[in-house]
């Protein structure tokens, strides 16, 4: 079983996100970078499938050179090798361009299964997994919380509004991960040592198998980034007793906020 994990390096959620002076990007100087949490589920699931069925796990990422750190983390968890496709303009690419680059690279790497995250916690787009599958002309199942592979078919439980659905497709195929699928392992010390010797193939877009020439312009253009609406200083409900506080809250929600 040849398994590919699509992995993205993202700012740690604790990082303070500051909008840059251009008003359309974020300041990256003091951000801590981590593996996208949904992609950790993807790495873990890939390792479990490899443990059960044999084969290898390859991490593929499109990102700046620094993203090799995130690949290295996945290698320390147990993945076999990494591919980093890098370009100076990468942070401006929209999801479709990233998907085209990934699909191009994956035409050169044999695979049975691709695992991506349900969403990246920076762009929050939920796009790259299904779009990459579409460009590779393979089926996908998203938001998977359980999977079984038998006879080159994968059967998945996915979460939907109000419950779960069971779907099946033939490999090669792509799935996206959701919390509930697994608990990602931590990289062990020997794992970290071993990862140092594992190969990461760093490529430019043009030698990664990308056949669109040129890459094309992003069709989704960021015009402006703003901080979210400030909640006007939260009101602490005062009162002599819990009863008075509860009554005052309900009155406000009913009469002023009009949400009751």
């Amino acid at each position: 079983m040849e398994i590919i994990v699509l992995l993205k390096q993202v700012p740690a959620t604790e990082s303070l996100i500051r909008i840059d002076d251009d008003g359309a990007s974020i300041k990256t100087d003091d951000i801590k970078w981590v593996v996208n949490p949904y992609d950790e589920f993807a790495v873990e699931e890939a390792l479990r499938i490899k443990e059960a069925h044999g084969g290898s796990v390859t991490i593929v990422s499109v990102g700046p050179e620094k993203a090799s750190e995130a690949i290295r983390t996945a290698l320390a968890m147990g993945a076999d090798k990494g591919v980093l496709i890098t370009d100076p303009g990468v942070s401006d690419f929209d999801s479709l361009i990233v998907s085209r680059i990934l699909a191009g690279a994956l035409k050169e790497i044999p695979f049975d299964l691709i695992i991506a995250g349900h969403r990246s916690v920076d762009k929050d787009n939920s796009q790259v997994g299904p779009a990459t599958a579409e460009l590779l002309n393979i089926p996908h199942i998203s938001m998977v919380i359980k999977q079984d592979i038998t006879d080159s078919k994968i059967r998945c439980h996915k979460t939907v509004e109000g419950g779960t659905v069971v779907l099946e497709m033939s490999l090669p195929a792509l799935i996206t991960t959701q919390r509930g699928l697994n608990e990602p392992r931590y990289a062990s010390l020997p794992g970290i040592m071993k990862a140092k010797k594992k190969p990461i193939d760093v490529k430019t877009i043009m030698d990664s198998g990308f056949d669109g020439d040129p890459i094309g312009e992003s069709m989704v253009k960021t015009i402006v980034m703003k901080p979210p609406r400030e909640r006007k200083d939260g009101i602490m409900i005062k009162g002599d007793s819990n009863l008075a506080k509860a009554a005052e809250l309900v009155r406000i929600l009913h009469e002023e906020a009009k949400v009751l």
């Binding site: 700012p11 959620t13 996100i17 974020i26 949490p37 929209d94 999801s95 479709l96 916690v121 920076d122 929050d124 787009n125 939920s126 796009q127 299904p130 779009a131 579409e134 089926p139 996908h140 998203s142 919380i145 059967r155 996915k158 979460t159 939907v160 509004e161 109000g162 419950g163 779960t164 659905v165 069971v166 779907l167 497709m169 033939s170 919390r179 312009e217 069709m219 989704v220 253009k221 015009i223 980034m225 901080p227 979210p228 609406r229 909640r231 939260g234 009101i235 602490m236 819990n242 506080k245 509860a246 009554a247 809250l249 309900v250 009155r251 929600l253 009913h254 906020a257 949400v259 009751l260």
Partner: protein, 323 residues
């Protein structure tokens, strides 16, 4: 319908999801701004009768694409049908709900048509550049306005973010047989709990965190029920095994935007805020006056949730009784 607006309706078990009315209403506003017609595309099996009501939400034309294979949500079948329709009719804008299914379909559709897609939008406006979609990024820490260059412009709307408006149109309804084409994903079964209000569609959510101290969520459930709302949980409450992971709100859980979000015994970790910061009104109940959740809440009560929740429940009952 060249250069019109196309709204994609979503049904489950033959019943429209709430997001369908939001998609129609917002599409009507977009069509008015562009001064064009609005076509609603319904996909499913035996949908003709229920589809008429979409005229009340501003559809000028209603197309019902019938095929038993569309009864269940299989992303590739839906993508085939919508893509064929878009290629034939060339709408300027395609609007869809960013539900689990809508996200799958819109992402595949954008890739197939080489068209721009703004996912999970919370607002749409027009300026001299054209249609501008606002979407949250970085777990709600940034609101980004994007311009879509290319055609059609595909917009997936976050459920619960847009207002539903009744705009009666004398709409035409047309049933068409469609070829779903080759589908590579096979539906096996589904398990839906129809008694439960879906978090992403709920008007009100009452969430319990580690402060619940155990799996007894009866107070949370009672208040949620009274509000016709849903029960949410922090990741800690899920990790403790008190709630199923489908209740989790946050960065690795559901992203919700109800009118009212009541967080009880939740500290307000950044990963939790990432899932609920677009709620319209946020209430926090916590015994720690320094809990970070208070700085993100519109209204806070400092105190023990086990004492305060029963009192709130009684007060809400009084109001509900009055009406």
């Amino acid at each position: 319908m060249a250069q019109d607006v196309l709204a994609i309706a979503e049904q489950t078990n033959g019943v429209f999801r709430k997001v369908t009315y939001e998609v129609l209403s917002e599409s009507r506003r977009i069509a008015d701004s562009l001064d064009c017609d609005l076509t609603a595309l319904v996909m499913g099996s035996n949908m003709e009768n229920v589809s008429k009501e979409l005229g009340q939400y501003g559809a000028d034309n209603i197309i019902v694409a019938e095929n038993p294979a569309l009864y269940e949500h299989v992303a590739d079948a839906y993508t085939n049908v919508i893509a064929d329709f878009v290629i034939k009719e060339a709408p300027a804008v395609v609007v869809i709900g960013a539900t689990t299914h809508g996200k799958d379909v819109s992402a595949r559709l954008a890739a197939r048509l080489n068209a721009p897609l703004a996912m999970d939008c919370v607002a749409i406006r027009f300026d001299e550049k054209g249609l501008i979609a606002s979407r949250q990024m970085y777990g709600g820490k940034v609101l980004t306005d994007v311009l879509l260059e290319g055609s059609p412009q595909i917009i997936a709307l976050r459920p619960n973010a847009m207002a539903i408006a009744n705009v009666e149109r004398a709409s035409s309804i047309e049933k068409v047989d469609v070829n779903v084409g080759k589908t590579n994903v096979q539906f096996i079964e589904k398990r839906l709990d129809t008694t439960k209000v879906e978090l992403t569609e709920a008007d009100s959510i009452v969430t319990g965190g580690r402060g619940m101290g155990g799996a007894d969520f009866s107070l949370i459930e009672a208040l949620a029920k009274l509000l016709d709302g849903a029960v949410g949980a922090s990741r800690s409450a899920v990790d403790e095994g008190w709630r199923p992971s489908s209740d989790q709100v946050g960065q690795t859980g559901k992203v919700v935007s109800p009118n009212l979000y009541i967080a009880c015994g939740v500290s307000g970790a950044i990963q939790h805020l990432a899932g609920m910061s677009s709620s319209k009104v946020i209430v926090a109940i916590n015994k720690d006056p320094d809990a970070p959740i208070f700085s993100k809440a519109d209204y806070g009560i400092e105190g023990d949730l086990f004492e305060i929740l029963p009192l709130i429940i009684e007060e809400v009952k009084k109001i509900k009784g009055e009406n």
